[in-house]
């Protein structure tokens, strides 16, 4: 959701603008295409558990990197989340 659909946003008075599901998008069954998944495990060398910061959700970053990767032939090297259509167009 945060990667592709909409971010949490506030106006200048601090009013939440994405306060209901009319504005804050929940990903639906048709939001993503089908894909194969896999894990690439690299243990952290700096602690005994081999863990990188616990509880961090990596998926939005992965999705954003996929988009940037796909757009790299057009010269896109980075992008802020969420990758909504207007932001993608601007990046290109």
């Amino acid at each position: 959701m945060n990667a592709m659909d909409i971010g949490v946003s506030y106006d200048t008075d601090g009013q939440l603008l994405s306060g209901s599901y009319i504005d804050y998008c929940i990903s639906l069954i048709d939001s993503l295409t089908s894909f194969e998944e896999g894990n690439a495990v690299k243990r952290c060398a700096h602690n005994n558990f081999g863990s990188k910061s616990c509880g961090e959700v990596g998926a939005p970053l992965v999705v954003t990197n996929i988009i940037v990767d796909g757009l790299s032939p057009l010269g896109v090297s980075g992008m802020l989340m969420p990758a909504i259509s207007s932001i993608v167009l601007e990046a290109i």
């Binding site: 659909d5 599901y21 909504i84």
Partner: protein, 265 residues
């Protein structure tokens, strides 16, 4: 939700009378906007007059050169109607793309048109197809019906009976949905008849649905996607919100108009 008195209307005349008798009454069609508004306590009508029991407000009829859709016909019924599908496929497609399955099975064409939400789909169809809004008092051309944000020419106690759509030679509706609500971020409806081309845009205008004269003129002499490719709508009067800025909406109008012309059938 605040308290209100609930009434079942037996006919449009009955609904109009009950509305007149209420302190601050609201008419309930499908309720897909009104009910969430009540739940959020954004409105406090004294009375709710439900048009649901009025059976003759539902259904599609075909008359000479027009499709007439009863005010209480749901979006799902319009999408499924073989008559609409064969006469104006663009209209059936539009109905099929409104909200989600739940909304389509409750929401009605009359409710959508009367509410004139600036991002609703039906106002674009009404304006681009040159529809006539039939009420319990008169007939109003779509060109004279939509008066800006959530405002229409309906007078107090005036209720929509049906919407009559002249069958065009070709038409198409292209919508870029808001990913969250599925309302139109921008929607462009293009129609061609024997003597006119009409282009209507919803979702983008600060004052709701509007026609794009420059595109209509360009398409009248050359009905092709290229004819509108160079026409840009000025962004000053367009909406800007967390989903898209005015410039992006202006960009989408041209892109969707091209697609609509290409898909016209």
């Amino acid at each position: 939700m605040y308290n209100f008195i609930y009434h079942k209307a037996e006919s449009l005349a009955d609904a109009s009378m009950k509305l007149k008798g209420a302190d601050d009454g609201s008419v309930l069609a499908g309720g897909m906007t009104l009910l969430p508004t009540l739940k959020l306590r954004l409105a406090q009508p004294s009375d709710l007059i439900d048009l649901g029991p009025i059976g003759d407000l539902r259904g599609v009829t075909v008359s000479s050169g027009a499709i007439i859709i009863g005010a209480m016909t749901t979006h799902a019924s319009v999408a499924k109607s073989a008559d609409v599908r064969s006469a104006i496929p663009a209209l059936a497609n539009l109905a099929e793309g409104i909200g989600d399955a739940q909304v389509r099975n409750r929401g009605t064409i009359g409710g959508s048109v009367a509410n004139n939400d600036p991002a609703a789909d039906y106002p674009a169809a009404c304006l681009a197809l040159g529809a006539t809004i039939q009420t319990n008092r008169r007939e109003i051309a779509a060109d004279n019906f939509f008066n800006g944000l959530f405002d229409t020419s309906l007078e107090e106690g005036e209720l929509i009976k049906a919407v009559s759509f002249p069958v065009p030679s070709k038409a198409s509706y292209e919508k870029f949905p808001n990913p969250a609500s599925r309302f139109a971020l921008v929607g462009v409806f293009v129609s061609q008849t024997a003597n006119a081309v009409r282009v209507a845009v919803t979702g983008a205008g600060q004052e709701g649905v509007f026609r794009v004269a420059e595109m209509e003129i360009a398409l009248s002499s050359d009905f092709s996607p290229d004819a509108v490719a160079g026409v840009k709508v000025a962004s000053d009067s367009l909406n800007s919100d967390i989903h898209a800025g005015a410039d992006y909406r202006a960009h989408l109008i041209t892109v969707l108009a091209k697609r609509a012309v290409a898909a016209c059938k």
